[in-house]
Amino acid sequence: MTGQRFPFMSRREMLKTVSGGFGYLALAGLCAEASADYQNPLAPKAPHFTPQAKRVIYICMRGGPSHVDTFDYKPALAKDDGKTVPEAGRDDRNRGNLLRSPWKFNQHGQSGQWISEVYPHVAQHADDMCIINSLWTDVPNHPQSFLMMHTGEFRFARPSVGSWVLYGLGSENSNLPGFITISPPVNLGGAQNYSSGFLPAIYQGTSIGREGGSVASAAIGNIQPKHLSPELQREQLDMIQSLNRDLLDRKEVNIELEGIIQSYELAFRMQSALPEVLDLSKESASTLQMYGINGSGPRAAAGGKKEGGGGGGTDNFGRQCLMARRLAEAGVRYIEICHSNWDHHNGLKERLGGNALQTDQPIGALLTDLKQRGLLKDTLVMWGGEFGRTPAGQGTNGRNHNSAGFSMWLAGGGVKGGLRYGATDEYGKAAVANKMHPHDLHATILHLLGLDHEQLSYYYGGREYKLTGVGGARVVEGIVA
């Protein structure tokens, strides 16, 4: 090939999309990699400042888990069981009689964090956990709040948190997608919860399986050739690439075309890399046992519903957690796993108990495993749903939606361990101290990842958009180590 190649175009393009002062750093990063003209938009990018977390694992509890039965200890609720809820406020859902938690809370670790007995394995990590009791969100309905938690907006289609993170930081493993979501729900906004919205499509989440399905048999679209053996497909790919290179020679300069050529090679590698990273068969028996896979964990109590697939035991969610660790280890930037359904309007004792049983050992194992591999310090783990539930009973064994106050916990990735942050009122009706909106949570996640939520923006439809909107989100410094 003759003629000099000019790499300017791709960088120019890059600068156009990565704005807000961040472009310069991105450019510097690109210039460092002078070997290839084509710049993979997923290549790792420098954050705005030194990050404490490099990746995120979001353990999504779909349906709104009850905070007063898990991570928000309310002795007054037990004391005043059956009394009428005082000052119910505008939301009817909080009217009625207080319902004590059927579970005991105990203190754990050096920090003495109060955690419900439904989560014994998780509780062992109390000193690594930052339990936030003061979350609140806008609307006590699943779809709006689920979208709010995942995209920071429910009125309009906007990019998901994972897409923003990937856009801001790129991916550390070029053979794998940078944002993977396992068993996402098809409703509650469906793919909007992991879509890239107006960001380039390359930043969208790759989904594996669907909510409620068995993750062991989940298929990934187009990942395996069915019509040709790997050897023959390689031959075919060489043929395709020779056509592509002919065209490139003819065009002399075409950055996009180089991108296509690279992307074919990446796809070819991904065909083996992705199934490999999701293949749990090479994990040791003790690891599988730790996560409760292959029937090694407890079964749900009789009467508990079989939720989340996997027959009511820990197997299905154990697999999700182990996959999450393997993906984190492989350098995937943003990983979400999902368990459902936590919408306990009735059957609280049996169903929440069953859900906790399905998730407790796997999550405990994930934290242990990340820690022993030295990954917890730069992996931000988050647990929580779209909102919480009312301290008032719905019937005698259920709780209604509560967007005024709920809990999540974070661990690793630069958060203060052993910390309880914020508080609800004495019964858990509403957040009252250090209130934290999902926008604040998002700002804080970005902060931990080394990104300034005010700077991470994208120009669409005539203005710069941010994940955290225009409502003055704040980084919650109080939970940052």
């Binding site: 003629g3 000019f6 300017f8 175009m9 806008d138 006590p140 309905n141 779809p143 709006q144 689920f146 429910f154 009125r155 289609a157 997608p177 098809v186 409703n187 469906g190 793919a191 909007q192 879509s195 919205g197 380039p200 499509a201 390359i202 790759t206 187009n222 990942i223 395996q224 069915k226 053996s229 050897e231 031959e235 075919q236 790919l237 043929m239 056509l243 002919d246 065209l247 065009k251 300069v253 075409n254 075309l257 991108g259 296509i260 992307s263 074919y264 990446l266 796809a267 991904m270 250090n434 909106h437 005010e454 439809g461 005539g462 203005r463 409502g471 003055g472 704040r474 410094e477 109080g478």
Partner: protein
């Protein structure tokens, strides 16, 4: 107060504070300030409220005395001596505002501030106030901005190379090229040109016969007649209608939280396609979409058409209404967004919560527009579960006179179809699997049409319907016999194979048109008594401003109106007894609207060159980009209006320019000076969009069915079980069902416009998932096999000739000798490699050729447009 509201509270109540003359500060007071106040301010407040802050929150600066006394948008932060009037104290106490937001300061610190204010707020600092003057929207000044100025008629500039331009457009372009010290590259060769013209106009590749015909046409009018022929083909509307569907955020489901199906949305899609095919004047096209129900129309089809057009306003993605007091205003916001962005390239929606920060659009004007839509009923159907917002639909009507005409036309077309079929049977080799599969599809469709018509006939006892039914039955009988050929097919007639091929191509293309019209007529007959999404007049009334965008916090009532900065001449008078949509539509479609024509010619330019003269095609405001060729943009806009807002004429004019006909060759010198090709020294190399790519595959494999599919192919589903829409099927991609958040893979992977938002410009991304799709997806594998079957069905051709044919079909060119040899070798190697898995020689040959065909379809060249 919600989180959002808290912020806007700062932004909305603009109060001007008067500065009282500062008294001489006493040293003790200053000491108190330096010790107890300044450090606290610096530590807790300056990050957001100082000159250092990127944009001071609420316009409040606390790092100067003046800033503090004047305060922000909510009023003075500090009123010396008056703790009660000092918003700073109220904020520190977390009464009205909660500052600092991260948590209340200790009580003793707040007590210091109280004491300090009681002392008269002694403060030694100086500082200028200029930066904190609240901004007021200045519309007169705003009108000076280029896009709000009327387009200017400027004579075409002088150019050095006088022989180069063909049209004034070329003169405007060449003048810039020359001024930049660039030189246009050579003209595109005719093969590149025909391929470009085909894809740009109809989104399909030319067949080898069509390429040959063009190459052998030496008339100076060859290009012109090619363009005219394609502009007249029904495929034109399918391509250009799709462009409009991108900005109209067309979809067949709601998306968002409750993804309920919109089973009537297809009518709007077909309306858009038909409008482009009929070259409906663009001003009229816009007016129908905003106010079709308010325009005079004959009963029957014409009225139906105008009602369907208003689907534009009803198709938006809506949030759940339950527990959302803002629901109505959210729907209105979306309507304002889609209207102003698609038609005017203005982002008016920013003014919902505060005066537009960058464009001269005050909040009051947003609510003037909102009043138009709150006076309108939006009928989008929906529903399908508790808690899900639902509304009615528009009832359409059909008239007998129209049915008469339809029946007549159906008879006519059926007759012609029979003739063509007979001719084709004479010319064509024995029915190939593809053809019979096509027939089978058609048989199925006809059967279902007949079933529906029979039901309708029984109900209506309509004589016209019966005739129609008979015609369709006859057609069915004909097709069924074709699908099961029992008679021996005689050998193809001897003669010039090429002549036959081109004759067959012509007949097929006519047949496609006949089929297409037949099917759309049948569909209209069936569906014309149905329902459509759209809007209707509601209770007319002006809207109250929602302070900070909160529906429950209402301010002044503002009269209905439009965006005054974009209004030239007299302001509009609104009829208080109507919604105002008619006036809105008239204002947008006015010849002197400075934006409407410019925005559309810029969109057309972008679809033909890959980049708009204003690259931010959806934003002609202050944050948008400036036009690279302002005089050319105005020239095009004025020409567009003068030529009756004809989209086809505008496209034709641009396509016949020398500029459009340039090659996409690289040039080192030009590239060094203008790598983005802003000055148009060459044609931009472009990638096919998702629909053209999928349709081109179907076209070259011979599988494409050009018949529109009839009423929606949207699968039935419940809102919680959103299906994955297959990309299989042989109709054009524009007819694939578009479910929000579940777009067919073949579209979604290749940068299809997100159907929940206005998309005037699609990204071009390169993602490994695209490569995986091309390597492994069932659609590509099946289509590669279909292409192999087509090739191997050609009969007496050796492998070299077959490779040539494969290249000509897919890449519209012959391979080089080296490429030909490489292909033949590759096929042989595949054949060899398949020996272990494919038993029969025929199967192996088919698999090997399929593998080669897949390489062609998967190659970048197939997706590239020179």
């Amino acid at each position: 107060m919600s989180h959002r509201a808290l912020f806007y509270a700062f932004c909305v109540c603009v109060v001007f504070a008067s500065l009282s003359a500062a008294a001489e500060p006493d040293p003790k007071g200053i000491e108190f300030f330096e010790k107890n106040i300044r450090p606290v301010l610096a530590k807790n407040c300056f990050k957001c409220h100082s000159a250092e802050a990127k944009s001071p929150k609420g316009g409040l600066l606390l790092d100067t005395l003046a800033g503090m006394r004047q305060g922000g948008e909510s009023g003075p932060a500090v009123v010396p001596g008056s703790v009660e009037d000092s918003l700073l104290i109220s904020a520190l106490r977390h009464n009205d505002f909660k500052m600092p937001p991260s948590g209340k300061l200790p009580d003793n610190v707040i007590a210091d501030f109280v004491k300090w204010i009681e002392m008269g707020a002694p403060d030694p600092r100086g500082g200028d106030l200029a930066d904190v003057q609240p901004r007021k929207v200045d519309i007169a000044k705003g009108r000076e901005f280029w896009s709000f100025q009327p387009p200017q008629q400027v004579p075409a500039p002088q150019v050095i190379d006088k022989s180069w331009p063909r049209d004034d457009i070329d003169r405007f372009v060449l003048a810039k090229v020359e001024a930049q010290g660039l030189k246009p590259v050579r003209d595109a060769d005719r093969v590149a040109l025909i391929r470009r013209v085909y894809f740009d106009l109809i989104g399909l590749p030319p067949s080898p016969a069509e390429v040959d015909a063009f190459l052998s046409d030496n008339s100076p009018k060859a290009l012109e007649s090619l363009i005219d022929r394609l502009l007249d083909s029904p495929q034109f509307g399918e391509r250009w209608g799709r462009h409009w569907l991108d900005v109209a955020r067309f979809a067949e489901s709601n998306g968002n939280a409750d993804n309920t199906p919109f089973p009537q949305a297809w009518r709007y899609r077909d309306y858009v396609i038909a409008s482009f095919n009929n070259d409906k004047p663009y001003d009229r096209f816009l007016m129908e979409q905003l106010a079709g129900d308010l325009l005079p129309a004959d009963d029957g089809a014409p009225r139906n058409e105008q009602l369907i057009a208003t689907g534009f306003l009803a198709l938006g993605s809506k949030p759940r209404a339950q527990n959302n007091p803002d629901f109505q205003m959210d729907v209105v916001a979306e309507q304002i967004e889609v209207t102003t962005t698609s038609m005017l390239a203005l982002t008016v929606m920013c003014a919902r919560c505060h005066d537009h920060k960058f464009d001269p659009i005050p909040t009051s004007e947003y609510y003037s527009l909102a009043g138009i839509f709150t006076s309108t009923r939006t009928l989008f159907g929906g529903g399908g579960g508790k808690n899900v917002n639902a509304s009615g639909l528009i009832a359409l009507s059909a008239e007998d006179s129209q049915a008469d005409q339809q029946t007549k036309r159906i008879d006519e077309l059926t007759r012609r179809k029979r003739e063509i079929d007979a001719e084709l049977a004479q010319l064509s080799p024995p029915a190939k699997s593809a053809a019979s599969a096509g027939n089978a599809d058609q048989v199925k469709r006809l059967q279902s049409q007949i079933a529906k018509l029979t039901a309708a006939t029984k109900k209506a006892k309509n004589a016209n319907r019966k005739q129609q039914l008979d015609a369709l039955k006859a057609q069915l009988a004909k097709l069924q016999s074709a699908a099961n050929p029992s008679a021996d097919h005689s050998k193809p007639i001897e003669g010039d194979a090429k002549a036959i091929e081109s004759n067959v191509a012509l007949l097929r293309s006519e047949l496609a048109k006949v089929d297409s019209e037949l099917s759309s007529l049948g569909r209209t007959a069936m569906a014309s008594q149905g329902q459509a999404m759209g809007v209707a007049e509601g209770t007319p009334g002006d809207c109250q401003i929602c302070i900070a965008g909160e529906s429950q916090n209402r301010g002044d009532r503002v009269p209905r109106g439009v965006v005054s900065v974009a209004t030239i001449g007299e302001p509009l008078a609104f009829d208080a007894r109507q919604s105002g949509r008619l006036e809105l539509a008239q204002w947008i479609a006015r010849r002197d609207n400075p934006l409407t024509a410019r925005v559309m010619v810029n969109r057309i330019w972008q679809y033909l060159f890959g980049r708009g003269l204003v690259p931010s095609v959806d934003n002609f405001g202050a944050l948008g980009e400036k036009p690279s060729h302002p005089e050319l943009l105005d020239h095009l806009a004025l020409r567009f209006v003068a030529e009756g807002w004809s989209v086809k004429q505008m496209i034709r004019t641009i396509m016949l320019t020398r500029t459009y006909g340039l090659s996409s060759d690289h040039d080192v010198v030009n590239y060094g000076r203008d790598p983005d090709n802003v000055w148009l020294w060459r044609m931009n190399p472009r990638r096919l969009d998702a629909e053209s790519f999928r349709d081109a595959i179907l076209a070259v494999t011979g599988e494409l069915d050009l018949n529109p599919p009839g009423p929606s192919r949207l699968p039935q589903y419940s809102k919680n079980q959103v299906p994955i829409v297959s990309d299989a099927g042989k109709q054009r991609s524009v007819y694939l069902p578009i479910i929000r958040n579940s777009v067919p893979e073949a579209l979604g992977l290749f940068d299809f416009a997100d159907p929940s938002i206005v998309v005037g410009h699609r990204d071009t991304t390169t993602v490994p998932a695209q490569s995986l799709y091309l390597m492994n997806s069932p659609f590509i594998v099946d289509q590669s096999r279909a292409l192999a079957l087509r090739l191997l069905g050609e009969g007496n051709m050796d492998d070299h000739a077959l490779v040539d044919l494969a290249y000509r079909l897919s890449l519209v060119r012959d391979p080089s000798d080296q490429q030909r040899q490489r292909a033949v070798d590759f096929i042989a190697r595949l054949d060899e490699g398949l020996k272990s898995t494919q038993a029969s020689e025929d199967q192996r040959r088919l698999a090997a050729w399929s593998g080669f065909c897949q390489s062609l379809l998967a190659s970048a060249e197939f997706r590239y447009l020179d």
